[in-house]
């Protein structure tokens, strides 16, 4: 039943090796992600999250250890990087890093166009990708990219990646800087891509509400190592782990921990607002 689509084994990476600035960014990381999963990678700034995901579409090659993605070995010097990047779409944290055309439609079309697809197919994919992220094709295709809001830019960057129809979508802080509605909307769309389009989704986030809402499983990174793995519930109910690795909690979990510190019987693994409210109602109901 479980079909691994992305596997790293003993992956390590050292920046500026052999210099006084030497820094071990990844240290013996072994993870396995199965087809169709939605995985969150969390950890403090500098824990190695970004270095890890840059291995997923060949932006970085393993120094030691291995990364196998859908049967492709990222260490292979003869690796067809273009083919890998058609399988793995990477959306950067800052959308301005990956928007370079003047018009929205041209920007989303860039990938499929470079793949040499017939123009009708390019148009069809652009329309599909734009609608999928909630950008009206007719209304937005001729908009200049520089006049977009932060949220719109992020959607354009995501559409540009989706137009390549990847099997795996890798997102670095997908909702940083978005307003609450755009955030929820984008999260719902990512969830639908995961459940309906059967896309494997891997995302890096420091927004724990987002992790709680979206992820099937969570990997916790610290000092370049994958120190823990589990469901959001098991991660958030482990206060020691969160504290040791400087990981924030959802606001509702913070409230529950504060109540527990006052001696109340609550389960901080109940991370949704509804569950937290039920627990509190139960407390005063007795």
């Amino acid at each position: 039943m479980k079909q691994p689509i992305l596997v790293t084994e003993h992956l390590s990476h050292v920046y500026m090796q052999g210099t006084p600035m030497e820094h071990r960014a990844l240290d013996d990381v072994s993870i396995q992600i199965d087809r169709g999963e939605c995985i969150a990678i969390i950890g403090h700034t500098g824990s190695g999250k970004s270095t890890l995901i840059q291995h997923f579409n060949g932006l970085m090659r393993p120094q030691s250890g291995s990364v196998i993605i859908n049967g492709m070995n990222v260490s292979d010097p003869k690796l067809d990087v273009k083919a890998l990047r058609r399988q793995v779409g990477l959306v950067f944290q800052n959308p301005e890093d990956q928007i370079f055309e003047k018009l929205v439609g041209d920007d989303v079309a860039y990938g499929p166009f470079k793949m040499g697809l017939p123009i009708e197919e390019v148009r069809r994919r652009v329309e599909w990708a734009m609608e999928l992220v909630g950008l009206s094709f007719e209304e937005m295709k001729d908009r200049p990219t520089f006049a977009l809001s932060g949220g719109q830019k992020r959607k354009v960057a995501l559409a540009g990646v989706l137009s390549l129809q990847p099997k795996i979508l890798v997102l670095d802080e997908p909702t940083a800087g978005l307003d609450p509605r755009s955030r929820n909307e984008l999260l719902e769309r990512i969830k639908r891509l995961n459940t309906e389009e059967r896309l494997t989704v891997i995302f890096v986030s420091h927004n724990m509400e987002e992790v709680a809402h979206l992820a099937d499983r969570v990997y916790v990174m610290a000092n370049g190592r994958a120190v823990c793995e589990g469901t959001p519930r098991s991660i958030f109910s482990n206060q020691e782990l969160l504290h040791t690795h400087h990981i924030g909690t959802p606001e509702s979990v913070d409230i529950l921990y504060r109540l527990r510190a006052e001696g109340y019987q609550v389960d901080p693994g109940a991370y949704s607002v509804d569950e937290a409210a039920d627990q509190i109602a139960h407390l005063i109901g007795r």
Partner: protein, 289 residues
């Protein structure tokens, strides 16, 4: 709090000029004042105009129509722009976009060099600014090795060295993890206590809860104004505006529905705990008697 306005925004409209025929209107007749010593939050969905208005507060943008006055100086007076910016400093979203030097203390001194501050005073101001943001230990470090929260603190120090009366933060915490955010909020809280005027543009409703006053923007206009508690009372209206309330407010509302005695107007995490304690003691007494 004195009601002396340090910034006056009067009937400001603004359009981004695309080309000769086409302009995209962003602000429509916005008027408000920023009072000395207050902590003002501006919220609104992406594209509502809140970042654009914040860039008017120290003359980065000037109005297409209307005026912005900083301490009585019109931001259109380009000759006095240094004077305006030394009074109102601004911190942006991306820490990497606002750090220019290769050593932390040089970066903090950058603005001072530009306005020709004498070396002795420069050192004094840099010391003060790094101390204020808790980054003195890092003064000889290269900024690119710092975490996001530390870089933002350096950016704030660069502004503080200019001794402004007002600090404007345009989503200054949105790229930071929760620890980085707490670092910045701690610094801002301290500055505000010491009398600094703070204007923050943010999507984090728990940050908004700390402000004295909130402006809500929609379609380039101010559509709501009040204390955080007043504004967060309108949960449904905020949702229509693509906004949210802090989780503490949502929890308070939900618990209130089941237990009317539980206040629905709570906005801080600690208030929830206090309310539970208040009611728990009462029910304990009631059941004990």
């Amino acid at each position: 709090m004195s009601k002396e306005a340090i910034i006056r925004v009067q009937n400001v409209s603004f359009s981004y000029q695309m080309n000769q025929e086409q302009a995209i209107p962003v602000l429509h007749g916005v008027s408000f004042e920023v009072y000395s010593g207050e902590y003002l939050a501006i919220i609104g969905h992406n594209g509502s105009g809140k970042s654009t208005i914040s860039k008017h507060l120290n003359g980065i943008l000037t109005p297409s129509e209307g005026d912005v006055w900083v301490h009585g100086i019109n931001t259109r007076e380009k000759a006095r722009i240094h004077e305006i910016r030394s009074r109102v400093g601004m911190v942006f979203q991306h820490p990497d976009n606002q750090i220019v030097a290769t050593i932390v203390e040089d970066d903090v001194a950058f603005g001072l060099e530009n306005i020709g501050v004498a070396p002795a005073e420069m050192k004094e101001r840099v010391d003060f600014a790094l101390e204020a943001v808790g980054m003195s230990a890092f003064r000889h470090r290269p900024p690119h090795h710092l975490s996001g929260g530390q870089k933002q603190r350096v950016a704030i120090a660069g502004i503080l060295a200019m001794k402004p009366q007002c600090l404007v933060m345009d989503e200054a915490t949105s790229m930071l993890d929760s620890y980085g955010r707490q670092e910045i909020l701690g610094v801002v809280r301290k500055l505000h206590r010491q009398g600094m005027t703070i204007v923050t543009v943010t999507h984090h409703m728990s940050e908004v809860a700390e402000a004295d006053r909130v402006l809500v923007m929609e379609g380039g206009q101010i559509v709501m104004e009040g204390t955080p508690r007043e504004v967060f009372a309108h949960q449904e209206r905020l949702q229509e505006l693509h906004l949210d309330v802090p989780d503490a407010s949502r929890i308070a509302h939900l618990v209130h529905r089941q237990h009317p005695a539980f206040s629905s107007s709570l906005i801080h995490n600690h208030e929830i705990v206090e309310e539970v304690k208040r009611l728990h003691i009462r029910t304990a007494e009631a059941s004990g008697s």
